[in-house]
Point group: C2
Chain length 324, copies 2
C-alpha cells in the first residue's frame, strides 16, 4: 500500500534531482473562471511530465544489488521517458518495450534518454511474454506506470509541493483538479494533501467517454471504458482505474469531471497565451475543467495540475489556430 | 546610478510579489550545443516578461504621497503591462501612452491589467508633449523603461536568482546571455552577478542589424542603429544603448552577440519542444546565441535568459511550422 510516509521518504530521495515546478496564475484566467485559478506546471518537470517523479522514486527505492541489473517498462509515452531518464541518471540500464507503430519521435526521445527500446508487433507478438523473457534473462525489475506504491509515492511529491506553494499563496481550501489516467498522480497527490492540506480535495479529470474514474467513483466499483482509443488525450487513456489507486481515491477524492477534446485544446491555447507554458491534451484536462466546468466546482480557489507537455507540433498548432 | 545595494533593496520590496522563475534545462539542448545550457524562464514572470520586476521596483520605491497620484509610461509592449499590473497591485492609477496603431491585443491586455490607455496618432501628435501635459495635470510619475536606476535594480533581481539557482546546480563559472534592448535587464543582471557570482560574465544578445550594444561595446562609444524597424524581435528594438545602462555594461559585459530572426524562431521552436515554454522572438535571442553561436562562446556552462513570452499566435505557429 502507498502511504503518506512513503511520499515523504520519496521526497527526500528526489531532492536535488526533481524540479520544484512553479505554481502559475493569470488574472485573465481568474476573470474567465470567476474564481482564483492556480496551475501546477508539471509540464516543466524533467522529461516534460510528472512521470519522472515516479520513475526516480521507483529506481531510487530499489536495493542497489537489484537496481544494477536494470529496469524494464511498457510504455510509448511519458512513463517511458520518465523511467529512461531516471535509470540513466542512476547509471543503470533501462529497457522500454514499445509497439513498433509508436510515433518515431517518441521512440527517438526514449532512446535519447538512454533507454534500450525493444519494439514488438502489436498484432502478432505478446508484450507481456517479451517483457517476462527479458526480465528473466537479465534480472530487470519491472516499473509499472501507476499501480505500484513507489511510483504513487513519487507522484505524491507533487502534492507536497502543492501544499507548500498554496500556503505561500495564502490558500487554505481548494479543489485540486488532476488529469487522471490510471490514477497514480491523483492518488499520490490525494495522500499528500490528506495530511499536509486537509482543506484541499482532489477531483479527477478525464476525457469524455474515457471517464472510468468518474463512473467508478460514483458507483463505488471499478468500471471499464468501453473504448481504448478515440480521444486526443492519449496520455490518460487507460482501460480502468488501478487496483491500488482506486481505493485511495474512493476514500479521498470528490466526484470526477469529464471534459471534451475541444475543451482540452482550448485550455492549451489559453495556457499558451496567458501562462506561457506548453501543455499536451491529456495534461490540459484539469485546466479545462477549471475554466469550462465551473458549475461542477464549489471552491473559491482551484488548483489545476498541468501534468505534461509532450505534444506533437501539428496538434499544438491546430489548438492555437482553432482557439488562440 | 544603479548599484548592487539598490538591487538587494529592490529584492526585499519584490518578495512575495514577483515570481521566482525556474532555471530549466534539457539534455537535448545540451547535446545540440555541446555544452550545458540553463534557461532562466522569465517568460513565466507575471505579465509574461521580466518587466514586471522593474515596474514593481519603481512603484514600490516611490514615496506614498507621490505614488498615490499614479504613474505614466510610454510603451506598447512588455513595459506597459509590467507597469500597469504593478500600479494596479499598489492600488494606484497608471496611464500608458500608446500609438493608436498598436496591436489591439496589446491595448486590450494593458487595459485589462488596470491601466488607462491614452492613444496618440504617431504621425500628427507628439508623444512626449502628451505625456508632459498628463503628468503636469495629474501629478503622475514617469516610469522609464530602462534608463532609470530603480527599474534597473528591479530587473537585477533576476540576476540574484540566477546566482542562487546556478549555485544550487553546482555552477560557479558561466556566460550569462541576456536579450538586450535598452540594456535594463542586462545591466541589472551584470551588477547582481558582479557581487554574487564573480565567475559569471554577461553577454548582450541582439537581433542582426539592431546590434547597437554589440557595436557600442566594441567601440567604447554609444552608437545608434541605422533602422528602427525590420526585425521580428520587436521587444528589443531600441535606437541606442541607454545612458545609464551603457557604462555599466561597458565595465562588466563581454562582447555582444547578434542572431538572425530565423535563429530566434528556431530557438522558440526548440523551447516549445524541449522546455515546454513559450518565448517571444525578442526573448529568444539569448537561447538562439547559446545554441547557434557556439564559436562565439567560451564557457562550459551557458545561462540564457528567456526574457518574455508575449508573442502573437500566428508568429508562434509559423515558428513551429518552419522549425518544429
Amino acid at each position: 500500500m502507498a502511504s503518506f510516509e512513503m511520499i515523504t521518504s520519496a521526497s527526500a530521495r528526489l531532492r536535488g534531482h526533481v524540479r520544484r515546478t512553479p505554481l502559475l496564475s493569470s488574472p485573465f484566467l481568474d476573470d474567465m473562471a470567476g474564481r482564483r485559478i492556480l496551475v501546477k506546471a508539471e509540464c516543466l518537470q524533467h522529461t516534460g511530465s510528472f512521470k519522472f517523479r515516479g520513475g526516480w522514486s521507483a529506481l531510487s527505492a530499489l536495493p542497489p544489488e537489484i537496481r544494477k541489473n536494470g529496469v524494464i517498462a511498457f510504455s510509448s509515452g511519458n512513463h517511458a521517458q520518465g523511467v529512461a531518464l531516471a535509470a540513466k541518471l542512476h547509471g543503470v540500464a533501462s529497457v522500454i518495450v514499445m509497439p513498433s507503430d509508436a510515433p518515431k519521435t517518441k521512440i527517438e526521445n526514449t532512446r535519447a534518454f538512454g533507454a534500450e527500446v525493444v519494439l514488438y508487433d502489436r498484432l502478432n507478438e505478446d508484450r507481456d511474454a517479451i517483457g517476462a523473457r527479458l526480465s528473466a534473462e537479465r534480472g530487470l525489475t519491472l516499473v509499472k506506470p501507476f499501480d505500484e506504491p513507489m511510483v504513487i509515492a513519487g507522484q505524491g511529491t507533487a502534492g507536497l509541493e502543492i501544499a507548500e506553494q498554496a500556503e505561500e499563496e495564502g490558500v487554505s481550501a481548494a479543489e485540486v483538479l488532476v488529469p487522471c489516467g490510471g490514477g497514480g498522480l491523483s492518488s499520490g497527490i490525494a495522500l499528500a494533501l490528506e495530511t499536509r492540506a486537509p482543506g484541499f480535495i482532489v477531483r479527477t479529470c478525464e476525457p469524455e467517454n474515457f471517464d472510468d474514474f468518474a463512473r467508478s467513483l460514483t458507483s463505488g466499483e471499478i468500471g471499464r471504458n468501453s473504448a481504448l482509443t478515440g480521444s486526443i488525450c492519449d496520455a490518460i487513456l487507460t482501460p480502468e482505474p488501478g487496483k491500488i489507486t482506486f481505493p485511495i481515491l474512493k476514500r479521498l477524492a470528490g466526484a470526477g469531471i469529464a471534459v471534451s477534446d475541444d475543451e482540452a485544446l482550448r485550455a492549451m491555447a489559453l495556457a499558451f497565451k496567458r501562462l506561457k507554458i506548453v501543455i499536451e491534451p491529456g495534461g490540459a484536462v484539469a485546466l479545462a475543467a477549471a475554466l469550462f466546468h465551473g458549475t461542477a466546482l464549489g471552491s473559491d480557489t482551484i488548483i489545476a495540475v498541468a501534468s505534461g507537455g509532450n505534444v506533437d507540433m501539428p496538434i499544438f498548432a491546430s489548438a492555437l489556430e482553432r482557439f488562440g
